[in-house]
Structure formats: structure tokens, C-alpha cells
Amino acid sequence: MEAFGFLLQGLATAMDPMLLLYALLGVTLGTMVGVLPGIGPALTVALLLPVTYGLDPAGSLIMFAGIYYGGMYGGSTTSISLNTPGESASIVTAIEGNKMALAGRGGPALATAAIGSFVAGLLATLALAFIAPSVVKLALIFGPREYFALMMLAFVTVSAAFGDSAMKGLTSLFIGLALALVGIDGLTGQTRLAFGMPQLLDGIEVTTLAVAMFAVGEALFVAARIEGADVKVHAIKGAVRMTATDWSRSWKAWLRGTAIGFPIGAMPAGGADIASFLSYGAEKRLTKYPAEFGHGAIEGVAGPEAANNAAAAGTLVPLLTLGLPTTATAAIMLAGFQQFGLQPGPLLFVTAPTLVWGLIASLLIANVMLLVLNLPLIRIWIKLLMIPRHWLYAGILLFATLGTIGVNPSPVELVQLTIFGLMGYGMRLLNYPIAPVVVGLILGPMAEQQLRRALSIARGDWTTLVATPLSAGLLAVAALALIVPMLMRARGRGAVLSQVAADED
């Protein structure tokens, strides 16, 4: 029960009034931005990253964690009240949630989403706290080859395993990997692909790329669609509370959603989208009211919402313990750590235990704050949905450029923002996923270094990569995750995979 002691210490750290304030600020901003239509959790954290620059590491990371959880909560409000979801992980929530809102049951839908997110967030964060020390111990036996194999698995699951085409996913991934080469090689100091421009020596910033592709790309995509009239907000009728029947139908779905979501987030097996999709499938199969599905079944909101938040907490397991981001959101969070020179991973639990455990504890606190923010104040958040589209996107672009200007007001950086924005637009238009580019950019150099280290240790012997059962097993799973979906698509069973397309997260 060492985790319990650490967690208590963490709670003591996180109860510092200043840190509580940062957490509150984080969840409020996260919810506010997360609610805005068209902004998913990845963009929420990327846009709000500059807010945390001026703070100390503890305050900044705690605020950041609040933003992450807040963004996940905010997205569910959007998908229930609008027919276009704010984040891809909430698409399945939108199926039933939107129907419930149309039928005048928006109140219970929002309540079950908020309480389900709370239950899932609480359980999954506790699971994170209890699993983290064991994963850290496991990580100590990880050598470069195991890390490399794990990263290969992450590459495959983020790019090729889901979505409607492995080719498109891999294309996105390789664009990210190519961009990752720009700058100085971490192992030899060799300059690569900088073409004599000193501004490129540091490489391409993850935040610049993420903000450009998600924010600028999305703004261009929305602006270029001519027919797009403003989407209609459903008025939320009735109180945001649930009847006894709603409760009895919801609680099992919450627990099942958590049980599905957390492992999926914790393993490099895709992000929250996949978790909420699987949870929806499970609820549909297990429900006692099959006729209601597709017309506003409360289980269809409760399960996926819980799964999506549990997966968000699960994603933090590989991120904190191994330093391995498995989603675009986690990639941006990693960039947030790196701005303070902190490298998440097993070592961080030793060198900065107060910081790590304070962060985990503050996630629990953020979760409680979010429940309070979301149940009574939900009407205020829904008001945000009424912001006209032109003001909304004008504001988004202002904030998108603000982050880049604030960190590095060089014209090169702003030109990158424009170019990658146009690239993001083109990729959206032609249905190429964005997340693999961001993950490729941050994981590419890490994978290269681990590979070269592994080969150095083995003096150039490539068989070292499969020399331990663990690394061989991970590589085999990665290969299966690449090949099986390809076969499924070839046999015309790809529709299931496209529905789980990891779009934004």
C-alpha cells in the first residue's frame, strides 16, 4: 500500500491554497474552452498551454491537469446540446445524448454524463495512483529495445489500427516522423534538414504543430464549407438531475465504462475514442431496453462518457511512468512537462516525487471541482455554445497565434503556423487523421534514439530487438495491430474501424 501513503502526501501538497487556485483556474478554463464547439481536448490543452508558462512547475502542471480533465467534461456538454460534438471521443455520446436532448431529457443526459465522468475520473485516477508504482518498477527492467518496441506499438495503434485507411494513417504518421527529423540529432549533434536556418536547429515545436493543425486547420476547414449554417443548440429543459430509474440504469454503465476505458487508455491501444465506442457497444448489447437505443437511451450516454474519462486518466499511466505519449493530447502534455525540463518517466517518480504525486492528487481534486462546476453551473456553459461562429473562430485564431508569439515571436514560427495550418486543412478535407502527425513528431526522435542505443549496446546486431520475450512480444503485437485491420478492411469489414477513427484525441 505504498501508493496510498504517496497519495496522501500528494494530497497534502495539492491542498496548498495557491495550488488549489491553479487547479480551479485550470478546470474552469478547460471546461470553458472544451465546451466550445469544434475544440477537442487536444486543442484545449494546446491553446491553454501558454497560460501556464509563467508559473512554477508544480502550479503549471496542476493547472494543466485541470485543463485536461475540464476539456474532457466540457466536450460532453457540447455533444449533448449540439448535434456536432466538440470532441471526437464524445461522438458516441452524441448519438444518444442528442436524442435525449431533443426529447426534452437533456437535463438527465447532462447529469449522467457529469456524474459518470466524475465516478470514472475518480476510480481511474485512483487506479492510476495504485498502478503507477508497479509500472515504474516494471519500467526499470525496460531497456532501449523494449522502449523501442513499445513506441512501435504506439505508432501503429495511433495511425493504422483504426480509422478508414491504414495508408492514410501511415501517411500522416510519416509526415510527422519526417518533421521530427528537422534540427539537431540528439545523439551525435549532427544537424539535419535545417537548410542553414538557425531557427530550425531546435526542431519543430510540438505545440506550434498541434495548434496549427488543430486550430488553424479547423478554422480554415469550417470557413471553406459554404453551406455550414450555425448549428442549433437544444434548450435544456428541466432540471439537471436524474430520477431513481435514471440512477439505477446509469450506475452499472458508469462502472462498466470505467472498466473498459481505463485499460484502453493505459495500454497504448488508442485513445478515448476507442474506449467510448467499445463502451457504447457493450451497453447496447447488455441493455434491458434495446428499443430505446438510437432514440435516447441513458445507458448510451452514461457508459461512453465514463469510458472516455477513464481512458483520459489511463493515458496518464504510460505518460507519467514511461514518458510515452499515446495520444495527441498526451503528446502536448509531454511538451508541457518539457518546457520545465522535466522528463516524465520512472526517474521522475524518484527525482520529483512531490511533484508527481501532487499532480496525481490534484487530479482527484480537479475531478471534485468539475462535478461542482458542471452540475449547478451547466447552464452558463451552454450559453457559450451560443457564441456566433465568426466571433468564436476569430477568437480561437487570436489565441492560437498568442501561444506561438508568446514563446518565440519569430517570423519563422508564425510562417510554420500558417503552413501547417494549411496542411491541417488539406488533411481534414481529404480525410487524413491529424493525431498521428503530432504523435509522430514527438515520439519519432525518442524511438530513433532508443533504436540506436539498443543497436549500440548490441554492436549493430539487429536481432537484439527481438532478443527478449517482452520486446519480441510487443513488436509482434504491433505487427498484428497493423496487419489484422488491413485484412479486415480488405474483407469489407472496415466500417467498424472507421467508426472508431481517432480524429482529434
Binding site: P50, V51, Y53, G54, L55, D164, M167, L170, T171, F174, I175, L177, A178, L181, T188, Q190, R192, L193, V216, A219, L220, V222, A223, A224, R225, I226, P388, R389, H390, W391, Y393, A394, G395, L397, L398, F399, T401, L402, I405, G406, P409, L414, L417, T418, L422, Y425, L429, L430, N431, G444, E448, R452, R453, L455, S456, I457, R459, G460, S498, A501
Partner: protein, 158 residues
């Protein structure tokens, strides 16, 4: 997924772009003197490998492009794209001479215009006020270093 959003001539254009990028990486990889060391591979290996991967993907695009027929291209509002890119470029060039507030207000107004809001005389002042407040909050309270122009110097440093 929306099938209309997958025009086919695009497959060949993308193939060309990927092949060009791949060739660039391989060329740059070859240009690096590779001393392998203990690992047997050095700094030039990754560009060559990723460049090779891009060329394989380019070939895949050609193959799918040949197999599937061209789909109707949804009409795109190029003027709107132009407005946003103009806004971004205006901000880029005017940031240093005029400062954050004015440059960002122009971006704000151009984006609103791209989204179909034609009243520039309203969008511009709204953008000015917003950018000005953002400057105050981020430069003053959150210690971000934003380029100041005469507006910022006049009012915040008065």
C-alpha cells in the same frame, strides 16, 4: 465518413508530394557522413529510412488512385481561405512594427470576415479590445513576452 470529401486527382498530387519529400529526406540522409559507430547506423539512417517509407506510401497512393474512380469535389470557399491566410500574414508582418494588439486585431477581423461576418467596422474594434485585454492579461499577469507597439507602450507603460 463523408465519401464526397475524397476526390481522386488528389491521390496523385499527394503521391507526388510524398515522393518529393521522401527524395529530399534520402538526399539529406545520404549527405550526412555516416560513421555508424557501435550501432552500425548513424544520423543519416533515420532520414533515409523515413524517406524510403514516404516513397512506398507515394506508390500506394498511385495504386489506390488508379483503382478508384474520381469522386465529385465538394465546393470549397477559396475566398474564405484567402481571408484567413491574409489575416495570418498581416499579423506576421505587422507584429514587430505595430505591436501585438493591432496586428492581432487585424487577424481577428479577417477571420470573422472569412466566417461570413462582413461588418469590418464592428469586427475591427471588437478585435482591438479583445487583443488589448489579452495583451494585458498575458504580458502583465502571466509574464508572457508579447511584442509591444505604440498602443501598448502608450497605455500599459504610459
Amino acid at each position: 465518413m463523408n465519401k464526397e470529401r475524397r476526390p481522386n486527382g488528389a491521390a496523385f498530387a499527394i503521391a507526388l508530394g510524398l515522393a518529393a519529400l521522401g527524395a529530399l529526406l534520402i538526399w539529406q540522409g545520404l549527405a550526412i557522413p555516416d560513421k555508424g559507430g557501435y550501432a552500425g547506423i548513424g544520423s543519416g539512417a533515420a532520414p533515409k529510412a523515413i524517406g524510403g517509407g514516404l516513397i512506398v506510401l507515394a506508390l500506394c497512393h498511385v495504386w489506390t488512385g488508379l483503382r478508384s474512380s474520381s469522386l465529385p469535389h465538394p465546393h470549397q470557399n477559396w475566398a474564405a481561405i484567402g481571408w484567413i491566410v491574409t489575416g495570418l500574414l498581416l499579423q506576421l508582418f505587422l507584429l514587430k512594427p505595430l505591436g501585438f494588439t493591432i496586428a492581432s486585431a487585424l487577424l481577428f477581423a479577417c477571420t470573422a470576415r472569412a466566417m461570413g461576418y462582413k461588418k469590418l467596422q464592428i469586427a475591427l474594434p471588437v478585435g482591438l479590445v479583445l487583443a488589448f485585454v489579452v495583451y494585458g492579461v498575458f504580458d502583465g499577469l502571466l509574464k508572457l513576452n508579447l511584442p509591444a507597439g505604440f498602443v501598448e507602450n502608450l497605455i500599459y507603460r504610459g
